[in-house]
């Protein structure tokens, strides 16, 4: 099929043996690519009960049918593996040149098995793969690593993805960095890479990506670029970036504040929101092959760490390191962002863990004697930055923090699990579910743990017409959003242009046909989404997950939110169980959350 290379490259780091795995058209027709293909591969390649940090786990980098085709947002890839943070399914997305270079090298993806007996990195081109010594880069941060590897490639651009010290030290929320500032952030994919003694992957290809109808793609881009130019939403989003989201979550009362105790924070306004960040933008930036420049380079003009520069900060970082920690100094948030990028950690999980520790100190559940002298109080940016280093290098109490908020709360005990904000071990992102009840369901049923990318919380309940503090219709709402994003994440395009231009699924079906030559209907896409989500559920079921794991922290279920439009709201056990029942039913899963036999038959699983 055009658009695909028809094969994956597999390497076993233990033996250095490589092979090519054919991707037949039938596979694409059934699972599309990206998330969908990853679901099939992970299910087939990882034996049940595999330790995520063992040699038996696989680390899969996958592209999709639209990768590198000039369709908007098409330089994305997904890393699929079994998560060390949750013990279940993990898909973690990133932009990065490596996506396009993999296809140019002739591969739709890369499957990494085994464990090298010494630190190494992979160098891939159309001739194959080399396993190279990584002694000179092991121990270095992601920025240094990438700089050194790019120098070795000379003038020609290459795709480089690497881990920082956090990945090497198996911090459970270590990420994989690409193009310096882009991360496959969630679920600890960097720890899986570190456990394999793999520091980086460098890919450089020179083949053209085969397209069925390149003229049609250009024509579609012309039309959609025009739409973007005329869209008020796109203009706002490209000017302000994701910091604009902070204004909406604050207004709607779902901005996580003080470890998810409050839903608004006045002090964030004009400091760490769209207005505050905009004053520090140096230039706007687009990802490779995308005509929407929705990213930005920021250099801070004021604050304790003024003069520091980053691509970002994105909303999640502003929320998790800003309002959630009561830090209103943009330069401190940017510094945290830079440190996380360099050290190779997910800013969401890292911010969440620090917020939890701050609350433990506030409630006097821990003392500096128990934390090797590390004392972090709400609003203390310096201590927060020290904590990042401690987590990445697993120094002192940082060693325990690096296990994630679930393990940390289990160790601290004393009822701290009531405000350990996670699902299945994955830390909450920057949206308070008590102000948008559908988000509570969305977090709970997500196969990778508390996830904002499957059903973006403000979409329907703050910005849409769904009343936020009821459960009525929320299961259907969440399923609809999940399925829509499942298609985008399997075609493997960025959500952003799709949402802010906006581009309907019909438009992506047009791109798919122009790239592959195969028409695809919305009904087929819907069916694929159902199949993929059920297959991923089956992966987790195989690993022992069920309804008992689709649960929320005590705070979300039982404690009234303390301020804002949603003041006094909490989800409640009865409400939550009703949403779960309805969601399972819509999916064709039984009341325990296990896909029914007829559902598996229906989707050919």
């Amino acid at each position: 099929m055009k658009g695909f290379c028809g094969k994956l490259l597999e390497i076993d780091l233990g033996s250095s043996k490589t092979r090519e795995i054919a991707i037949e058209d039938k596979m694409v027709e059934t699972y599309l690519g990206g998330r969908g293909l990853g679901a099939r591969l992970l299910m087939d390649m990882v034996p049940a009960g595999t330790d995520p940090l063992s040699a038996e786990n696989v680390l899969i980098f996958l592209t999709g049918p639209l990768t590198g085709t000039m369709a908007p947002g098409s330089s994305k890839f997904v890393v699929v593996t079994k998560s060390p943070l949750t013990g279940g399914w993990c898909d973690s997305y990133s932009s990065g040149r490596i996506s396009v270079e993999l296809k140019r090298a002739g591969y739709d993806g890369l499957v990494i098995r085994g464990k090298a007996n010494h630190p190494c990195y992979l160098r891939i081109d159309e001739k194959g793969v080399e396993v190279r010594e990584a002694n000179l880069i092991w121990g270095r941060d992601s920025f240094e690593t990438e700089r050194m590897l790019r120098e070795l490639e000379g003038d020609r651009p290459a795709g480089v993805s690497s881990i920082g010290p956090a990945g090497e030290k198996l911090c459970k929320f270590a990420c994989i960095n690409s193009d310096f500032y882009r991360q496959a952030g969630r679920g600890g994919v960097g720890a899986v890479m570190g456990a394999k003694n793999l520091k980086a992957v460098v890919v450089r290809g020179s083949r053209a990506i085969s397209l069925y109808d390149p003229k049609r793609i250009i024509e579609l881009n012309r039309q959609n670029y025009q739409r973007a130019k005329e869209s008020t939403v796109a203009q706002a989003r490209m000017k302000y970036g994701t910091p604009l989201t902070l204004n909406i979550t604050h207004t709607g009362g779902i901005l996580p504040t003080k470890n998810f105790q409050y839903g608004t924070w006045q002090k964030a306004l004009e400091k760490i929101d769209s207005v505050g960040v905009h004053q520090n933008i140096v230039r706007h930036k687009a990802c490779l092959y995308c005509f929407t420049h929705c990213s930005m380079i920021v250099r801070t003009k004021e604050g304790r760490y003024r003069g520091n520069e980053v691509e970002g900060p994105e909303y999640e970082t502003l929320g998790m390191f800003g309002s959630n920690l009561l830090i209103d100094d943009l330069s401190a948030v940017v510094q945290a962002n830079i440190l996380c990028d360099k050290l190779g950690m997910d800013t969401i999980s890292a911010g969440n863990v620090i917020g939890f520790v701050m609350e433990c100190f506030e409630k006097e559940l821990i003392s500096p004697q128990e934390t090797d002298g590390l004392e972090i109080r709400f609003g203390d940016s310096e201590a927060s930055l020290s904590a990042l280093e401690a987590m990445a290098y697993r120094r002192g109490f940082g060693d325990l923090m690096a296990e994630g908020v679930k393990a940390l709360s289990e160790r601290i005990g004393k009822g701290s699990d009531r405000f350990a904000m996670h699902v299945k071990g994955l830390e909450f992102p920057a949206y308070e579910p008590r102000g948008a009840f559908g988000a509570a369901l969305s977090y709970a049923v997500s196969p990778r743990g508390a996830c904002h990318r499957r059903a973006w919380p403000p979409a329907k309940e703050i910005l849409g017409n769904y009343p936020p503090y009821t459960v009525e219709g929320k299961a259907e709402m969440v399923k609809g959003l999940y399925d829509e994003n499942c298609i985008l994440h399997s075609l493997l395009v960025c959500d952003m242009p799709a949402k802010f231009i906006p581009l309907a699924r019909e438009v992506y079906a047009q791109y798919f046909e122009a790239v592959t030559g195969q028409p695809i209907s919305l009904e087929e896409l819907r069916l694929m989404a159902d199949r993929i989500e059920t297959l991923i559920r089956m992966f987790n079921v195989r690993e022992g997950f069920s309804r008992k794991d689709d649960k929320l922290p005590y705070r979300t279920l039982n404690e009234p939110l303390l301020d804002g439009p949603a003041k006094g709201q909490f989800i409640g056990e009865e409400n939550f169980n009703r949403m779960l029942d309805e969601y399972y039913d819509l999916r064709g899963w039984d009341p325990n959350g296990i896909p029914r036999q007829e559902t598996l038959r229906k989707y050919g699983l």
Binding site: A236, T245, T251, L269, S274, W456, A459, L463, D495, K499
Partner: protein, 106 residues
């Protein structure tokens, strides 16, 4: 009975009110306190009074006939008016009205 009588009676009783206006669009403004004298306490009349009173970034999101530009919504105290009473939503002194594009992305 009339709605007219009711309206007039409301109008007669209605005092000037101060609203807090946010605009999140290609131009953003926050926490702008504006005093208006609407005919009734409906959002429709508050917006009308506002449009007579002031120009600003919000004019890019809402047309003179009070219809919204594509991809824009109105929140009152953080709630989308589509899940309240739409343009008939009652506004009180000190309420926060937000005109916003459909923000997306984290």
């Amino acid at each position: 009975m009339g709605s007219k009588a009711t309206l007039r009676s409301t109008h007669e009783k209605l005092k000037p009110m101060e609203i807090v206006l946010n605009v999140f669009g290609p131009e953003t403004s926050l926490n702008q306190k504006i005093s208006v004298e609407p005919e009734t306490d409906s959002l429709r009349d508050v917006l009308r009074a506002l449009s007579e009173r002031t120009q600003g970034p919000w004019n890019r999101l809402i047309r003179p006939d009070l219809t919204l530009e594509k991809g824009c919504v109105i929140l009152v105290n953080g709630r989308n008016i589509l899940s309240l009473e739409n343009l008939e939503t009652k506004i009180q002194d000190g309420d926060e009205i937000t005109l916003t594009v459909l923000v997306t992305g984290g």
